[in-house]
């Protein structure tokens, strides 16, 4: 994991190396200062028969001042390089991940989920960035400060230094034990805490249900019980942590007292100067305070570990779709053939999503696809432009296996209007040109006319220059779908796939779009997936999907005669159970 991430330091290697170096320099200069203070007392104040030696004091003071300046410069350099390296590292991580995501196949994206990817690109990077800076600036500084101070005490007086060493060892053991205990409890607390928040979220989302069933008091009572449980666990966890401060205090205090006792003996027997005793006391904070810092850094790093792991997952994920060695870039025509195709999203799942599909579609045909949810309609068409790879068999476009094409060329020729479609912030024109960067305004207008989008676009004050907000919240569902259709048409593909892309468009407009497609996109092979039978009825041929298999394939009349499912759906939708709404779920 660390190796994966550290590759992304790249051009910031120098800054990454310099940061801890300057931090260590800062600490060394800083730690030397008290020695001179000791000399000031020893030789400056007390020296020369109690009259004092002011020039000596000033000389030593001057050296100390220089040391402060040096420490200051090192500190500032460390600060500057720390910022450069951590921000740069974060930048490279984000870039690395984003580029990797662009190469992801649909199944890679599905694996991580959209929100998972967003969290990794935002929160996780920030966590790792903070931890990285912490490591560079503190993880070296604190232990070095501790060790260097310890060495200094050994130089001054080994007997007293031993006391520090024992204190350091004892304190680290105590802190480690406390941390371990606390970590165990806190993991449990956070799990429960998440559960509690889920309950709250459920209530916020389902408040109408709660109120309709008059369950406010019931829910409040449930929450009270849950809050009580959390209280108990939190108290347990916190009770472990609060030992930290007193343990720390007792260690420092005992150390000071021991040094006072032994130090006094040494001073009295003239084996140690008072000034040196003062220096030893001064180092106590450096040694034990930094130990506390080390334990704190340790916690920080542990916390960021999960984030680092999640980022590494993205960085080391290989796209499972790859371009072939010598890709074919020319797609002859819009014919599509499925040869004994089986497919499943997970390699090891027992029941394939699609099994043994055999279909042959001529270029320019209009094919309707109908079937219940989960019958694998979308899965079927997603194989045509190689959004996923088949497990068995092959899919042929223009007579060639899709795996032999260059992926970009294939997708340029096979346009798809996805079920969960998205427009981006920017003007309508910007969005349309996603389909074709060089499209002229006339071409855009023509596509919009085919998609029955021109009229409503012109009704906006800014027309084609209307700005769409993030998530295109300022247009209705039906309008959004029509813009997506126009965008896909602009690509001038050989094959165009509509994956339930007129569900929010009213039936009359839906019919108009289909009529326009018939005349304007004559040569394109068209696949229309729909819930409404009226949307596919007039297609050249219709595929009836059921449980991942082709249940029927033929014209409307043929299917009506010999396909049970088709007949059932037809009757339910045109008979008593017909959809009544002008536009279901759409124009909200």
């Amino acid at each position: 994991m660390i190796r994966t991430l550290s590759k992304y330091i790249k051009e910031y290697k120098k800054a990454t190396f310099l940061t801890p170096m300057f931090m260590v320099l800062e600490v060394i200069f800083e730690t030397v200062i008290p020695i001179f203070m000791g000399w000031i007392i020893q030789y400056g104040i007390k020296g020369n028969n109690e009259t004092g030696d002011m020039p000596y004091i000033l000389k030593m003071g001057g050296i100390m001042f220089v040391l402060v300046i040096l420490a200051f410069v090192s500190g500032v350099m460390g600060a500057v390089f720390g910022s450069i390296s951590s921000c740069g590292f974060a930048k490279n991580l984000r870039k690395g991940m984003y580029e990797r995501i662009q190469a992801f196949s649909f199944s890679n994206i599905d694996k991580f989920s959209t929100s998972g990817l967003i969290t990794r690109l935002t929160t996780d990077v920030t966590n790792v960035q903070n931890a990285f800076q912490m490591i560079l600036r503190m993880a070296f500084r604190a232990p070095v400060s501790m060790i260097f101070a310890l060495v200094m005490t050994y130089v001054i007086c080994p007997e007293v230094a031993n006391i520090y060493l024992v204190a350091v060892i004892l304190l680290s053991i105590a802190l480690a034990l406390i941390m371990l205990a606390a970590k165990k409890y806190f993991t449990q607390v956070f799990e429960k805490y998440d559960e509690l928040n889920e309950t709250v979220e459920e209530n916020v989302n389902a408040i109408r249900v709660v109120k309709a069933f008059v369950r406010e008091d019931y829910e409040s009572n449930e929450l009270k019980i849950a809050a009580g449980k959390i209280y108990k666990m939190f108290v347990k966890a916190e009770n472990a942590v609060i030992l930290n401060a007193p343990v720390m205090q007792i260690t420092i205090f005992s150390t000071m007292l021991l040094i006072a006792w032994f130090g006094a003996h040494l001073v009295v027997s003239s084996r140690l100067d008072e000034s040196q005793l003062i220096v030893l006391f001064t180092y106590s904070m450096n040694i034990l305070g930094n130990l506390m810092m080390v334990s704190f850094i340790f916690v920080m790093i542990t916390l960021s570990q999960a984030s680092a792991k999640r980022i590494a997952e993205v960085l080391s994920e290989d796209s499972d779709l790859k371009n072939p060695e010598n890709p074919i870039r020319e797609i002859k025509d819009g014919s599509v053939e499925f040869k004994d195709v089986s497919f499943s999203y997970k390699k090891d799942s027992a029941k394939p999503v699609l099994s043994h599909i055999n279909l042959s579609i001529k270029s320019g045909e209009t094919i309707g696809i109908i079937g219940g949810t989960g019958s694998a309609k979308s899965s079927l068409v997603n194989l045509i432009n190689r959004l996923y790879d088949v497990n068995e068999g092959s899919v042929l476009v223009g007579g060639v296996d899709v795996r032999e094409y260059d992926m970009t060329s294939l997708r340029e020729s096979v346009s798809v209007v996805l079920q969960k479609n998205v427009l981006f912030s920017g003007t309508i024109l910007d969005n349309l040109r996603w389909g074709n960067m060089g499209a002229t305004e006339e071409e855009c207008i023509r596509a919009c006319k085919t998609a029955c989008a021109h009229d409503f676009i012109m009704s906006f004050p800014d027309g084609y220059n209307t700005k769409l907000e993030q998530g295109a919240t300022n247009v209705s569902g039906g309008q959004k779908q029509r813009l997506c259709i126009a965008r896909a048409l602009l690509k001038k593909p050989k094959i165009i796939i509509f994956d339930d892309s007129t569900s929010a468009v009213d039936t009359a407009t839906d019919a108009k779009i289909r009529a326009a497609l018939k005349s304007d996109a004559k040569d394109m092979t068209k696949f229309i997936i729909a819930q409404r039978i009226s949307s596919v009825m007039d297609a050249d041929r219709i595929i009836v999907m059921e449980d991942g298999e082709v249940n029927g394939f033929g014209t409307h009349e043929e299917l009506l005669q010999n396909n049970m499912i088709y007949k059932e759906v037809y009757e339910s939708q045109t008979g008593a159970n017909a959809d009544f709404d002008e536009a279901k779920g759409g124009e909200a």
Partner: protein, 639 residues
Amino acid sequence: MGKNDKPIQMGRHGAMGPKPKLDNPLKIFGRLIKYSYLRYPVPFAIVLICIFYSAFAQVKGMMFLQVLIDDYITPLKGVSDPDYMPLLGAIGKVGLLYLSCALATFTLNKIMVYITQGTMRHLRVELFNHMEKLPIKYFDTHSHGDIMSIYTNDVDTTRQMISQAIIQFISSLLTITLTFISLIKLSPVLTLVTVCIIAFMLFMTKTIAGKSAGHFVAQQRNLGALNGFIEERTKGQKVVKVFCHEDESIAEFTKLNEELCESATKAGKLSNIIGPVNGQLGNLSFVLVSIVGGFVAIKGIGGFTIGAMASYLTLNKSVNMPIMQISQQFNTIIMALAGADRIFKLLDEPVEVDDGYVTLVNAKRENGELVESEERTGLWAWKHYHKADDTTTYVELKGNVVLDDVDFGYTEEKMVLHNIDIFAKPGQKIAFVGSTGAGKTTITNLINRFYDIQDGKIRYDGINVNKIKKADLRRSLGMVLQDTHLFTGTVMENIRYGKLDATDEEVYAAAKLANAHSFIERLPQGYNTMLKGDGASLSQGQRQLLAIARAAIADPPVLILDEATSSIDTRTEKLVQEGMDKLMKGRTTFVIAHRLSTVKNSDCIMVLENGSIVERGTHDELIEQKGRYYQLYTGNKAI
């Protein structure tokens, strides 16, 4: 040009946002103190004493160095047979002081755990209780993400504030004060040096912070832009792929990423510098004190001894830390106050008012008269107390609903329903049809009083619904909404939600009525299958079947149904349809209809348009009229 300027300016404005502008921070602070610490007055008093004592003991402990050197070491020097007993005594005394200090710290922390967690428990429960009582309007007008953020972020920052920031702030303040008293006692001259350095330190911090503010704003803005881009593009990643827009996306991303890196580095540099600046000023203070102290000691001004110098140096070093921290703690408190403010705002949000006094009671017939019954009789009555003549009447619950000239708007300015008249006799089925946004859902929101009407009257069994207690009114109304919500728990528990004391047999019966029984049986653990995340493991149709079962078990006389649109598979759809039909049998039903069969079977169809009923009647009558309904009906069939 002007158009392009605007979003940038808005961005700048937005980035300034995080610095919270509170109307009255002191008031919020006071309220928070009252809400947390003052809930536990005696323990909190002990905490304050402990803070004071441990600060005192720590400062006092550092003064020990002076005593040690001046009183116990220097006099013994050169003595041939030194007597260490007084020293041992002194060390013992200081040891006791230290021990009591550690004890005080421990006690303080221990009590704070209980105060903090007790407050948190109280806060969570009260927040939730209060939220449950808020009117639907609150949930419709506040984003669910914002509400959740109160429970997650705001409660958490408040916890940190009361458990740490405030306590540390008090402690720092005390330590600084006590240290300064000691410093002055040791040497007023040196204290002047210390004060000068500290003043300089604060000045530097302020200057650097002021300088970096601009970069921080830029960083926030760039971060917002990048995160916005990431969110939008990642959500549309599949679209990016099908349009082969990967390279363009990377180019745009890289530009935003570089901009963020640049401003973040600048901001980071400056804020990082504050550390070494203050740290080295602290060391500078140490150096100056050494020099000036040396001078003072040589001259022997004010009896300044080596021991005093040792203590002074230690104290001088230890005062830097709290001074550097205190401004940070202050900032934390201010930031957390914004969270506390949001919490209190939620707690101050007026709860759903309920002036109703008519209640729903079990009833039985005695001599043809309706009287109240203690037991469940299956017969329900509205208990109506008339204040005017001090009598109580009982009206049988039948399910007669009348809307009389009702006007309604979600806001005062904009009415969405106009002059709505509806008469539903017990057992009748009333269907609402019309395009989305015509006001169908709004009407159903009024019957159960999720919203209150502006004008007109709604009567239930002849009683104005305003007089009926909301809980009893809603108990008499069943609801099946289009977007089904299930709760974490077993299937059994989810169905039982409609009637908490239902037996297992009743649950099975309800599931059978709703056509849900057979699919539940096929689940891995049948009725004990755990549902999570709003029933994510079930299909939309299955979730709907459970919602129908949940309504069926409550057995209400009046039903409000929002039919699902047909984007579910045909098989389950049929089951749902049948389940709904069975549920509607014998009940007054208001149904937002999407299916022709439902509409055709209705006793009365209301055609809504722009908040008004434009046509009403049975299917045949409306077809006859050749109006809007006819259009909707044939428009569909023509294709």
